[in-house]
Symmetry: C2
Subunit: 410 residues, 2 copies
């Protein structure tokens, strides 16, 4: 061709992100990421549901948004109405629901709608790691709210609100994961939910309630969603990523129309994947309860495998936050800065979430880490925890004993 | 509850969009939007493909990105490799392809990667309407490139580039839809594609090639994609929205890794819908040629219905840009400012794309409009065109005659 080529990268905007690395597959002991258990995908029932819904309703694929508008596929919203009203104590209709391309999209939309640089937002002291860089990029001032074994410490929250008020600051929202808190796995009691609703009204902030793990609670005493108690001050999001699979990009938001209409306007992706919506609707409308009755014990046995392995390898050197459901375990290894383990662990094929990445105050979480247990097999969990304990001992001398045997450096 | 509620909308950022309106269904004569023909969705074959791929590969739904990394489902990228190399003259592998959540996502990603406020971009004088507000929001200076019946006028493009160069301006990219240009329906000849590739190298800009309608060309002499001629200076996007359906949110980008790696990093949606990807791959790997052999004549007959209706109703008062494929017809009604028709037409249930919204220079396109013909039935097309001619006559006195009979105002 005529003339010489040029480097397109030289034309990129200064804000362009760094290049992605080529995908190289998964590490041997991949204890990060919100993946599910591949063995729990109900292949036959899902295949049948897909065939049924396509034969019945597939002509809708020719029309944007399946011909039912930007709030999403109506049968999916109808299913959600039943689930949210029946299991989460809400009183909503399909008109109150916006289908999302994953609940992660809801985070981006709500953050974008409310936050201006310098705004203050409240976040649980330990929280979903992906929010921190996003909040920082938006210029938010993040104030951490202490947690105990049951979730948000309401008295301290009130003190924080008073302190902010004395400075003339109204936080835009409290981002909370009340049911199977990420990463601590706690479930916030009803009384605290009511107190938080009252504080939101009193101090004038929004409750941004993320229940993406709520369906995976295996305890019996799960209180209603905060949205059920205070729909006027709450925006609620949830997901099918954890119940069916995260490769399906389907989540949902619930809010009253003054906010939901803005979220709908801000959702500029041309709709959520049509087949993802249709198949989720068809399958879960028939099988949600049976599916969860099978999935939750399967996850719980993986947790048991991980807890047993940690107790065998670390003994009393590790403090476990045994979760009430979900797919991850938060733990603390006192005396260990887990950041020193990241690189040697990765070299041994072990990936984990370091506490500082999942905390408002990174330094205070330096001995914490998160391990995800849904994707790896029982055998992989056992081997990986043992390998991790070896790395930890070699780097820090902790745990000095495992399975009642003193460790020796290699 | 304690205390009074507050209005959440009062906490919104100044940049929050206006509320969306509730979806109210489609107008009777809905001649806008990139919808397909619901009767052309292959229900049985698609249902079978969905069941097959879920039974064989559905456990991947438990893993983000179907376990194959952020570039997307490998069988879909393999299918695209065959399609792009076999039909578009390219020479690419699955590593050169990024699956997108619709080609629209590709527009946002590429625009975002390259444009900084004040940057100049080149756009065909008539182009896809949705780009103009986005380019404006990014602060781009949009320079229109004249089109003739075959697409970009290369000599004028070169003059524009010289003028810009004299001012010290290098445009970031030329956004072009060379194959079934939107809205004019032209196909750019090979020689012009080669010339544009040479100009890109000479003047140092990127060719941003949007081929989202290329598979719908029903003429036989479609030249290779520009990417095939100049992969070093081109980023190419395409879509399954027009071949299978826009409710499926699946498109793709092709670029060499220095750019594709940035696009992959900028695609922050957690992956494209897993079932949308899997079913598109399974169905099209088996049936792409047969599907297109059935779809294109069906669309072409709808175009014929629309052309006949326009000739009957408008006669010589309308100048048609009969497209070489696709789902829309661009036309001009000399002496009519179509913006004066928008409101009365909408009242009569007729929606059309006004030329000024699909043009770099709105005033110069005031007599143009775009009519989409894939979704409405043949009967609806005929009735809608007749109704539109009545509105046009009542507002402007044009067309004075239709079906060889002089019109009279109602």
């Amino acid at each position: 061709m005529n003339d010489k080529a040029f480097d397109m990268a030289g034309l990129l905007a200064a804000s362009a992100p760094a290049p992605a690395a080529r995908f190289g597959g998964f590490a041997d002991y991949y204890f990060i990421g919100g993946n599910g258990d591949p063995e729990q995908v109900p292949l036959d029932a899902l295949a049948q549901a897909a065939a049924d819904v396509i034969r019945r309703d597939g002509d809708r694929l020719a029309i944007y948004n399946l011909g039912q508008g930007p709030q999403g596929y109506l049968p999916l919203r109808e299913f959600l109405t039943g689930k949210l009203n029946g299991k989460r104590g809400m009183s909503v209709t399909a008109e109150d629901i916006l289908i999302l391309s994953g609940s992660n999209q809801g985070l981006n939309i709500v953050f974008g709608l409310f936050i201006e640089p310098g705004d203050t937002v409240l976040v649980e002291e330990y929280s979903y790691g992906a929010i921190f860089p996003r909040l920082k990029a938006l210029g938010a001032n993040v104030v951490g709210v202490p947690l105990d074994a049951d979730g948000i410490d309401v008295d301290t929250l009130e003190s924080i609100l008073d302190d902010l008020k004395a400075k003339g600051i109204t936080p835009k929202f409290l981002y909370t994961i009340p049911t199977i808190q990420n990463p601590t796995g706690s479930v916030l009691p009803l009384g605290r939910r009511q107190s938080i609703a009252g504080l939101a009204r009193q101090y004038g902030f929004v409750i941004f309630e993320d229940e993406c793990y709520a369906d995976l609670a295996w305890v019996s005493d799960v209180p209603p969603a905060i949205y059920a108690l205070a729909p006027d001050v709450t925006v609620h999001i949830g997901s099918f990523s954890k119940t069916l699979g995260p490769a399906l990009r389907v989540g949902y938001a619930v809010a009253e129309w003054p906010l939901l209409s803005r979220m709908t306007a801000a959702k500029s992706d041309g709709g959520t994947g049509g087949l993802d919506q249709m198949v989720a609707a068809e399958y879960f409308t028939q099988y949600f309860d049976a599916h969860m009755a099978s999935l939750k014990p399967a996850l719980q046995t993986k947790l048991t495998t991980m807890v047993n392995a940690l107790e065998r390898e670390f003994g009393t050197a590790a403090e476990l936050y045994v979760p009430k459901g979900g797919i991850f375990l938060w733990l603390k290894i006192p005396g260990v800065d887990v950041r020193t383990l990241t690189e040697p662990a990765a070299k041994a094929g072990i990936l984990f979430n370091a506490g500082p990445d999942w905390a408002c105050n990174g330094e205070a979480a330096q001995s914490h880490l998160r391990l995800c247990f849904a994707m790896p097999s029982h055998e992989t969990i056992e081997q990986g925890v043992a390998a991790f304990a070896r790395i930890c001992f070699e780097q820090t001398g902790i745990p000095a004993r495992s399975a009642n045997v003193a460790r020796e450096k290699a």
